[in-house]
Assembly symmetry: C2
């Protein structure tokens, strides 16, 4: 939040803390079943005090989606600026995405529940999501153009990548054997390898350069 | 339905037709917003007649999930029996999965809304889903063991594959530029290529064999 005053920054930090508490409740009970009362309890606030930060669950959901998309956009923009091979840039974006949806701000899981937002807020989120998707697609397309990646459909490949990443919130368990970082590293390796021409390329059954 | 009588088979066929009509409504309005009345209209039935086939939306949803999982299980079992390379078997499963969730039985989309089922039905679906996931994981693991695939985490890779496939129902538009078969072919090529050691393997940042 560049240019924001100290009070604004403090409010923003407090909202992030509340979001993190709400996220845990969303994860354990589901978004629909979690009320403002439970969120207040989880965040150690009185309901009245919670309403001072968020006028309702939808405002909180919007803040959640907005915050996680901003983090992801920052990561993909940093990657696009980097002067490294496309494979490396794409792996960085994948790790950041997994970290964002499974990591500290856990219930960024809620970042997928876009249908629960009122139409005007939903539109703003979808615009950002499209920007994010476009930036990833551009990294893929740049790798194809430079010959670093195989010649494939950049749009479909980007959807496959985003699907693998977003779906992780459905099966990931914080108390399971793999950490968010394990998932991020494994997914980055696997999903980028699929863009690099395989040695037995004649078998790989899609359009290809080699 | 081996062994079922003619009347049973006719009923099953009729239920599939109703499901297909319901699927179109689910896709355009969302599952939650679609009522039995709309489903009856879409299937060209009176509401009373519809209730003769499905006592409610949950029974229809269960039938939808059951049917698409059975199709997917049949495909993965056929693939496991085939005496072809793991890559080929996995591509066949991926194409069948995409065909099932995006193809004729379109709104198999609803096959993902497992949380809307009552607990006992949900458990039966989850058991089948686990079997399906396990069968895919075994194809991946067999390819790793034989050296056809890179040495990677078969469980995480399977989740990445399933995520890419299942997420497709979120972005796919039947009136868009790509057919379900385009998606299936592109996804099969990309997701299997990621299991085959890349030539510049030293860069791919994960555990590997080469």
């Amino acid at each position: 939040m560049p240019g924001a005053g100290r009070a604004d920054r403090r409010r923003h930090t407090r909202r992030l803390e509340i979001l993190s508490a709400a996220a845990r409740s969303f994860r354990s009970r589901g978004f629909a079943a979690t009320g403002m009362r439970e969120i207040a309890a989880a965040a150690d606030l009185s309901p009245a005090n919670l309403y001072h930060y968020f006028r309702g669950k939808q405002e909180l959901l919007y803040f959640c989606q907005e915050t996680s998309l901003e983090r992801m956009l920052a990561a993909v923009r940093a990657a696009r600026r980097a002067r490294t091979p496309a494979a490396e840039r794409l792996r960085a974006v994948i790790r950041a995405h997994v970290d964002c949806v499974l990591g500290e701000m856990e219930g960024a899981a809620a970042h997928l529940e876009v249908d629960d937002l009122p139409a005007p807020l939903k539109r703003r989120i979808l615009v950002k999501r499209d920007l994010y998707e476009r930036d990833i697609r551009r990294i893929v397309a740049a790798g194809i153009t430079s010959g670093e990646f195989v010649d494939c459909d950049a749009k479909l490949t980007t959807q496959a990548i985003l699907g693998a990443l977003n779906w992780s919130v459905r099966w990931f368990r914080p108390d399971g054997e793999r950490s968010p970082s394990d998932v991020g590293t494994a997914f980055a390796a696997y999903l980028v390898r699929g863009l690099i021409a395989a040695p037995s390329a004649s078998r790989s059954n899609g359009r290809k350069r080699a």
